[in-house]
Symmetry: D2
Amino acid sequence: MNSRIRMGLVGGGPGSFIGPVHRIAAELDGKIELVAGAFSRDRVRCAEAGRSYGIDPARAYPSIEAMLAAEALREDGIQFVTIATPNVHHLPAASAAIAAGIAVMSDKPMTATLAEARDLAAALAANPVPYGLTYTYSGYPLVREMRERIAAGAIGPVRKVVVEYNQGWLAGAVTGKQAEWRLDPAHSGEGGCIADIGVHAFHLAEFVTGLRVALINADLGTVVPGRVLDDDCQMFLRFHGGARGLLLASQVMTGEGNDLAIRVYGEDGGMRWRQENPNRVEWLRADGGMEIIRAGDPGLSPLAMRGTRLPGGHPEGLLEALANLYRDFVADLKGEGGSLVPGIEDGLRGMALVATAVAASRDARGWIDLTV
Amino acid sequence: MNSRIRMGLVGGGPGSFIGPVHRIAAELDGKIELVAGAFSRDRVRCAEAGRSYGIDPARAYPSIEAMLAAEALREDGIQFVTIATPNVHHLPAASAAIAAGIAVMSDKPMTATLAEARDLAAALAANPVPYGLTYTYSGYPLVREMRERIAAGAIGPVRKVVVEYNQGWLAGAVTGKQAEWRLDPAHSGEGGCIADIGVHAFHLAEFVTGLRVALINADLGTVVPGRVLDDDCQMFLRFHGGARGLLLASQVMTGEGNDLAIRVYGEDGGMRWRQENPNRVEWLRADGGMEIIRAGDPGLSPLAMRGTRLPGGHPEGLLEALANLYRDFVADLKGEGGSLVPGIEDGLRGMALVATAVAASRDARGWIDLTV
Amino acid sequence: MNSRIRMGLVGGGPGSFIGPVHRIAAELDGKIELVAGAFSRDRVRCAEAGRSYGIDPARAYPSIEAMLAAEALREDGIQFVTIATPNVHHLPAASAAIAAGIAVMSDKPMTATLAEARDLAAALAANPVPYGLTYTYSGYPLVREMRERIAAGAIGPVRKVVVEYNQGWLAGAVTGKQAEWRLDPAHSGEGGCIADIGVHAFHLAEFVTGLRVALINADLGTVVPGRVLDDDCQMFLRFHGGARGLLLASQVMTGEGNDLAIRVYGEDGGMRWRQENPNRVEWLRADGGMEIIRAGDPGLSPLAMRGTRLPGGHPEGLLEALANLYRDFVADLKGEGGSLVPGIEDGLRGMALVATAVAASRDARGWIDLTV
Amino acid sequence: MNSRIRMGLVGGGPGSFIGPVHRIAAELDGKIELVAGAFSRDRVRCAEAGRSYGIDPARAYPSIEAMLAAEALREDGIQFVTIATPNVHHLPAASAAIAAGIAVMSDKPMTATLAEARDLAAALAANPVPYGLTYTYSGYPLVREMRERIAAGAIGPVRKVVVEYNQGWLAGAVTGKQAEWRLDPAHSGEGGCIADIGVHAFHLAEFVTGLRVALINADLGTVVPGRVLDDDCQMFLRFHGGARGLLLASQVMTGEGNDLAIRVYGEDGGMRWRQENPNRVEWLRADGGMEIIRAGDPGLSPLAMRGTRLPGGHPEGLLEALANLYRDFVADLKGEGGSLVPGIEDGLRGMALVATAVAASRDARGWIDLTV
């Protein structure tokens, strides 16, 4: 038994994209080890997944309940679970872990509905354990650098935010596990695109600016015929304090990959960041000049450098960004402080956004309070 | 007297940015010559401007009326006027020219209000002369290439349009002639940012897609304290046929230069263009590949090549784009056909957008028909 | 007769690319007017060209000699000639003009051989008139900004220069007037690619750094079978003072357009510029940060601003760069000073480069003095 | 004991940059586990490193010899070593492992001198074990895609290669472990920049094109006063078959990060790749069009997809590229075939390049055979 923190994975069975991503990111820095999992309720598939992850076959369990029960008996039992299932399973899995006193790292959105999110928050309040939510993009060093600099006044008081998340993979009639559950309310909940990627954009806007959205005016649409859930979202935002914003999230912008981007403008300057080229921020300075802040540059904040493993010019990407969240989560587990891993409040806000946007857009209700 | 078409300029006096731009662009291809002007009502300034343009001092007139009257008596009198004044003068200047049977090339927006626009349309219907409106960006070869390819089905039926026009030059308390008249309703009319640059974005969206906007939901704001007119606009669009759209125009995105950009997505692909790097279009193809269409590439449409003066790799810019509108206007004057220069219908639509957006946003009325 | 300076064009007949480019650029700012030309020795073609340029048919001459003689008799005769012929005609045309006391603006390379260049320099010394050479790229505002900043110490003493000029248009068997004369020593002289574009790169390196090349080690090649002249050049450079350099020029880099680019590194920083995106310079600062210097930015030098017609964000291109050389040439004609238009010394250096590189590469002689 | 392949690390002690990089990359896919190391000859530092890597304290050895001896006695002993020491230790460490029948993954350059490289090749020939060399950049999926497409004729027969590796971190007087050993011949061998990064550029050129360099003409320089080894290299290349090439490698291009880039041109097109933005290749097609090949695009080769862990639009970087080499190395260890991990021949060629370039440049000998 080495000194690594022991992780159990919920979901991530054969065919899963996100399961292996969690394993790589969690283990990347050598502080965490995947040792158990409830990968699938199907025993054959569960065992197959266990083999693919290289864990002890005895520790591939048919359910989270079984995993929690068995692992509790081991001296080297799991210390936290990562939940990487379709959205509707987030609440039961997290609740079970919390009840067992086991920390939780969960995929977003936090739950399938806002009501569920409130239940989860209540459960956590009753039995506090470390709880993290993988708004992965907040782990990029230069996203954190933007946050630090904006907080320090680099662009002055924020006036305008434009955040967008452009994808094209659901532009056509798609098949396959990844698409199917997302398009099915029984698995993903009340939001489609808004819940899948809109919440990422929303979290990024609040994370980077340090502001909170007060009001939204939403226009959600279902572009591809035959769908039930939204696949294209646009939204006006108004932040507390008056800053104006725009949120665009779409999964039918044909040909786009994973184009999450944010632009923030203040009284004295602006900043731009784009996930597909994540190791640079464009800073429009108060003096009218433009500066490129590059990963690894001298002068970056300790926060950004903490999440940077390589010297400038050596690209790091999404796996490393997620690994940065796991680093922070380890700090949470150890009670060390300094963590920026998103948590229950961020999760509640995201679910409030989904619920509000879906309802408001359906009824064309115009501006609505974002009440969490 | 050479064979060039003779142009008179209205406005463009000392300190004007756009006057010299019109002269350069109009004369660029050697088919037009600036020979007269009503540059300013102040005789000293008018004469000064005449000298700076190198025209015959006798042809620098204190008013358009004086110019029209005097030039009508000359064998080599002006054949058209370009109107480059603040918005409130567009209608009287254009009306005077039309009444005199003189063709008009006008800066946008067409007039200061929608009512004025309708008056101008009526005047033109009563006394038809060639009328062009300098939605300059539609003169870029690659904007025209986008239009041609989208019309030919390169991306399939259009579903989603995102058009934006980001500037930062009014982010602070600005002074100087350029800013002052734009911020003053007495000179610019009922719209601020929406009338100054929003209409460019709007025209670009309709020009490139060939679609017409049916409904808008507008959120106009005045960010800098003390202003009367909007300086930041965001708008949901719905096109006839159902395509969804988003329009963003702002003059308070601190540090932005002249960042007009459009992205169009259809069932089978997408296209992206950005004015600050205007000689390329990114085409997201149906097969999932991405292609860069470059100015001068073999395989460009005759329309794009017609507006290209240099071989591939030799940048052309805004002056050349405006010169392309003048080329088309020459064709209009000669009755040759094939012109794409925007006209009265585009002007009316732009003014309808301004009026509708201003009213709708003021009253938070949600979705409204764009009635021209 | 207006106040514009009167220009005669030598060459630029039907099918010419560069002739119309000179007319546009020369006339762009309204200070010069093309009034005469010796466009072709073929009278029919000469007249056709005259019509296309819109000049008085009587002023389309069958030879430069005829033009100089006839124009000398007119009160409104030409004040300078622009030479836009194949290289072998540069010397006789320039000599004729100089002998007639008429100023000369000439395409590069200055002549077909170094011996001719020396003859021209001698002729000019004997009968001084303003003489300009269109190393066009030195007219870009941001190239001039680089020069100013490097001279002011922005990157410290220069250590390393990488200049390249990558084209692909001669990668295949090409036909047409543009290609044919360039590939034929009888029309272009002793250098192929090195004389056509290598000299541009060389001039740019010396212009931007303010340094002079002392030694070269050249590797010229003829890639496409059947050619006589070089079509691919690579060269090590050593500047006076010890800075190291690399020059790459090729016309067989298949698919490249007009990719002229320069990077300069000093003890304290570096700068990068690329012609295909000419309105920005990347500045690698002494503090490790990176800054984008954009055309029109506040803080640009008066020199750069003098060559900028539009506010930031409105692209200008090659025609405007060439127009900037004509602006400077007008200053030369008026004896106003401040001109940066390249002249006879730059021309001699370019021809010395061609001669030295061709000879050195043929004999594999290694490092050779660049003796002008 | 799990099923992962067991790795021992040589070097990578406290302060090492590359040691942790190897651990992350080797373990990334869950097929390899670092279990032992000879991190430092200093016992205290060795133990400290062992703790930082989280290995059993008993398996942190003071020398590779000690590690090989002790691990040979364990049922769960190491199955290969990764050598991450300064260059002069590569030969003894590799020789010891080979003698013990243990596979080797080694940092580049293979050894400190060409003579040593030949000794190592001989040792390996006598006692064959899998041997890999971390020319890391060849692990990028899009580098491999270039190789596949060029081999398949996408750009026709190769004519011209430009490869460059621009860094600035040694532009000043630098201190610290990373710089010191590289600047000291006693630790790095006969080459400075050429051995540190020039060999990467060289390998990349041969890897991507499938061609071998026949002749070089080198100009190595020492720019920063007081240095013994080269810090700036430029080189003409001639490949077998006649293709021309240029290699630029520098560590004094102030402000550059890790700008490795390659451009290859054939009779029918060209391709460009840049390490700092590694997930795209620009393809200049035979028809004159330009295409962006993006990581994760449909239509990529199985080879590229094998090294891609995330869907398109999710950046992967250097750690993942190195992990791809480890994937291939695992295949080598298992005798599965299909590996592209560079090996002894690549190492020999790199060392021949260093030796030839250093000697040739010192004597200004012009073109020299690259004899391996």
